[in-house]
Amino acid sequence: MNFAFSDDSRLLRDQARRFLAERCPASLVRAALDAAPPQAAALWREMAGLGWLGVGLPEAHGGAGLGAEALCVLAEELGRALAPVPFLSGRCLAAEAIAQCGSPAQQAAWLPRLAAGEATAAFALAEGAGDPSPGAIRARLRNGRIDGTKLPVADGMNADIAVIAAQDADGPVLALVDLAGPGVERQPMAMIDPSLPHANVTCRAAPAERLPGAAGWNAIAALLDRAAVPAAFAALGGASAALEMAVAYAKERHAFGRAIGSFQAIKHKLADVYVAVELARSNAWYACWALERDAGALPLAAATAKVSADAAFFQAAKENIQTHGGIGFTWDADPHLFYRRAMLLAHALGGPRFWKERMMAALETANAA
C-alpha cells in the first residue's frame, strides 16, 4: 500500500507553492477581476519556462515527461493560488485533446508551441444551457468549415486556436480552428469569476481541421473524464486554502470577549468543512491514480473526485465568507475570490448534476461487470 504522492511530486509541490506565493498573490487575482493584468501573462510565460505547460505531454513534442501525479500537483497548487491562468482549458482540455486525438502532424505543429507558451489553445464544447451531450452540440462541420456559436469559451478572447466540438455527417467530432482566422468572431462575456476571462465565439464558415482521433461522443466524454481529475485537484486546492483562511481568521477575530473560533457554531462548521475537504482529497488522489494507471477505473473515479471536490470547494468558500462576517462581503477582502472560483470550476466541464449522473452511469457499468 503506497497511497501517497512520490517524493518527486512532493518536491514539485513545494516548488510550485513557493513560486506561486511570490508570483501569484491574492492582489494579482483581484486585479484580474477587472482586466487581465500583465503579471498574469508573465506568470503564464514563467510557468512555460518551468516546464509546467508540458507536464504529461509527450517528450517528443516538448513535453516535460512527467505523469499524472505532476499534472495533479500543479493543478492543486494553481487552484490554491486561484491563479488567473488558463491551465485547465489550455493544458488539460485543449492540449490534451491534441495529444490524445490529434494527427502526428497536428501534434508536431501545436504541442511544442503550447508547451513553450508560444501559443495558447482554448477548448469549445458548450453552446449555452444544457449538460454536455451529443445532442447539445449544434455547431456543424461541413467541407472543412465550421458554423455555430460556442459559449462560454475559457480564454477564448486571448487564445490563438481552439479545439471546437461540432457535428459532422457521422456525429460529434473535434476540430482545430484558428481563432484569428477568417469567419471567427469573439465577444468577451461577464462570468461569475471574471479573473478567468471567457468569450462567446461565433464561427461562420471558419476553416477547421479535424482531430482524426476524436470521432464520436465517447472520445469527447473520455477527454472530459481526463480533465475532470486536474479540475478536481484545482477545486481541492481552492477548498484547502479557503478553509485555512477561515481558520486563521477564526483564531484572530474576537467577539464577546473571546476568539470567534471558540464558539461551537464556528467550530463545528469548520470541522464539517475539514471533513468534506479530506474526503475530497482522498477521492482526488484515487482519481489521480486511475488517470495514471487504470483507464477502466477512470470514469467512476474521475466523476467521484469531481463531485466531491466541487462540493467541498463551495462549502469551504461560502463558510469562509460567513466566518468573516461583514468584511467577508466586501470586494477588497479575499473570500469572494474563492466563492467565485468554486462556482466557475464546478461548471467548467458540465455542472454538478451532470457529473453525478455520470458517476451513476459509471457505477452501474462497474456493478454490472
Binding site: M1, F3, F5, S6, S262, D272, E278, L279, W289, N367
Partner: protein
C-alpha cells in the same frame, strides 16, 4: 502510488485468508445482518468459540507482544486482518472494548502478576472486559463523574453508579474510573481500577434500548471492596489512565454499519417507482451519487491511514472523520431506504420488509451510533481543536475543586 501489498503483507493476507476459508463461510450480503447489539447466550458461545480459535491460530492480539500471547505483528497486519475478516460470516465482536481498550490499558499500568493472570484468558475469549466510565451525570464530560473510591486501611471501598456500560451483563471484569478526591479540580481527583464484575457489591441491571435489545447496562456499586493491587496508576492519576484507554480505540475503523451505500443501491434496484426500478429515477440517482462520493472518500481515506501505518507513521484524525461521517450517513441512508418503500416504509416486520428489515433496524440503531464513543458534537470539537487548532471553549469548572461546583450531581 500503488495499492499493492508488500511481499510480507501479501504473505500475511494469504495466511489470514487461508485460515478464514478453512473456518468460516463467506459473508452473504443478501442475508439478514444480525440485529444490533442483540447478544443471546448462543451468540455469546459462538463468539467465544471463534475468539478461542483465532487466538490458537495467532490471529488474535495481532499487534500485542508475543510475551502476552499476541503475534508481535504490525498495525498494518491488524488492518489486513480486519479487512479480510469483514468478508466472512463471523459472530458479533463482543471483545472489542475489552481487547481494544481495557487490556491495552492494563498493559500500560498493571503489574506483572496481574497481566500474567488476565491477559491470556481475555485474548482467548474466556473472560470478557467492559469499560465503566460513563455515569448518569457524566458522559461527554466524563471527568465530572461522582462514583467514590475511598481508602479503607489497605483497601478501597467504592460506592456509586455507572451507566451505558456495554456488555456488562456478560462481562467478567471491568475497567473503572472513580473519584478518589473530591476536594481537588475534577481531572486531578480520579483514580482508575480494574474490578471483578462478579464481586459482592456489584449489581448489573440491563437497560432496554430504543432499538429493542439490551446491550448496555446500569452498574451499581455498594461498598464494593477493592485491594490496592487493583489500582491502575497512582491515586489521582486516573485521568491519564483514562486517556490511554480512549486513545486505544480500534486502530482501523471497521466497515461502516449497515445499511450502507451498497445496500441502498441493491434496494433501489429491487423496488419500483412508477413501474420502473427506483435506480432509474433521477432524484434517486442524485442522492445515491452524493452518498457514493462520501463512501468512496472514506474508503480511500482508510488507504491513506494504511499508507501512514505501513511507513511507521502515526495516523492522523481519520477515525474521527470516519465516525462523524458514518453515523450520520447510516441514519440518512436508512431513512432514505424507507422513503423508497413508500407506504411500506414503516413496516419493520423482518418477514415482510425488504432485506429482512435492514433499513428499519438501521434507522433504530443509528441514534446510538451518533452518541456512543464520543457524540457527533464532541467529535467536531475534537477535530476543530486538535486538528484545526481552534481555541478551546472557556471552562468554568476546570480549575475549581470538584466539590465546589457540583451541586447538581
Amino acid at each position: 502510488m500503488d495499492f499493492d501489498d508488500t511481499p510480507d503483507e501479501a504473505a500475511f493476507r494469504a495466511e489470514a485468508r487461508a485460515f478464514l476459508d478453512a473456518n468460516r463461510p463467506r459473508k452473504d450480503r443478501a442475508r439478514a445482518a444480525p440485529r444490533y447489539g442483540e447478544v443471546d447466550a448462543a451468540e455469546l458461545a459462538r463468539a467465544k468459540a471463534w475468539q478461542a480459535r483465532k487466538a490458537a491460530a495467532g490471529f488474535a492480539g495481532i499487534t500485542w507482544p508475543r510475551e502476552w500471547g499476541g503475534r508481535g505483528g504490525s498495525p498494518m497486519q491488524q488492518i489486513i486482518w480486519n479487512q479480510e475478516e469483514a468478508g466472512y460470516d463471523v459472530p458479533y465482536d463482543v471483545f472489542l472494548i475489552g481487547l481494544g481498550m481495557c487490556i491495552p490499558t492494563l498493559m500500560a499500568y498493571a503489574g506483572r502478576p496481574v497481566l500474567e493472570r488476565y491477559v491470556r484468558p481475555a485474548l482467548r475469549g474466556e473472560e470478557i472486559w467492559c469499560q465503566l466510565f460513563s455515569e448518569p451525570a457524566a458522559g461527554s464530560d466524563v471527568a465530572g463523574l461522582c462514583t467514590r473510591a475511598e481508602r479503607n486501611g489497605e483497601d478501597w471501598v467504592v460506592n456509586g453508579q455507572k451507566v451505558w456500560t456495554s456488555g456488562a451483563h456478560f462481562c467478567d471484569f471491568g475497567l473503572l474510573l472513580a473519584r478518589s478526591d473530591p476536594a481537588v479540580p475534577k481531572h486531578a481527583g480520579l483514580t482508575a481500577f480494574w474490578i471483578d464484575m462478579k464481586a459482592p457489591g456489584v449489581e448489573v441491571r440491563p437497560i432496554h434500548q430504543m432499538s429493542g435489545g439490551s446491550h448496555f447496562n446500569e452498574v451499581f456499586f455498594t461498598d464494593l471492596r477493592l485491594a490496592d493491587r487493583q489500582r491502575l496508576g497512582a491515586p489521582g492519576q486516573g485521568w491519564k489512565v483514562a486517556l490511554t484507554t480512549l486513545m486505544n480505540e480500534r486502530l482501523a475503523v471497521g466497515e461502516p454499519r449497515r445499511p450502507d451505500i451498497h445496500d441502498l443501491i441493491a434496494l433501489a434496484r429491487a423496488v419500483a417507482i412508477d413501474g420502473r426500478p427506483a435506480i432509474a429515477d433521477p432524484a434517486v440517482r442524485l442522492k445515491i451519487a452524493e452518498w457514493w462520493a462520501d463512501s468512496a472518500g472514506l474508503a480511500y481515506t482508510r488507504f491513506r491511514t494504511m499508507t501512514a501505518l505501513s511507513r511507521g507513521q502515526t495516523p492522523g484524525p481519520e477515525n474521527a472523520i470516519a465516525k462523524v461521517v458514518n453515523a450520520a450517513r447510516l441514519q440518512a441512508i436508512a431513512a432514505y431506504g424507507m422513503d423508497l418503500l413508500g407506504q411500506a416504509g414503516a413496516i419493520a416486520d423482518p418477514a415482510l420488509a425488504p432485506m429482512a428489515g435492514l433499513f428499519q433496524d438501521g434507522l433504530l440503531a443509528a441514534p446510538g451510533q451518533r452518541i456512543a464513543g464520543g457524540t457527533d458534537e464532541i467529535l467536531r470539537n475534537i477535530i476543530a481543536e486538535r486538528v484545526l487548532g481552534l481555541p478551546a471553549e472557556p471552562r468554568v469548572d476546570k480549575d475549581m475543586p470538584f466539590n465546589r461546583h457540583a451541586p447538581a450531581r
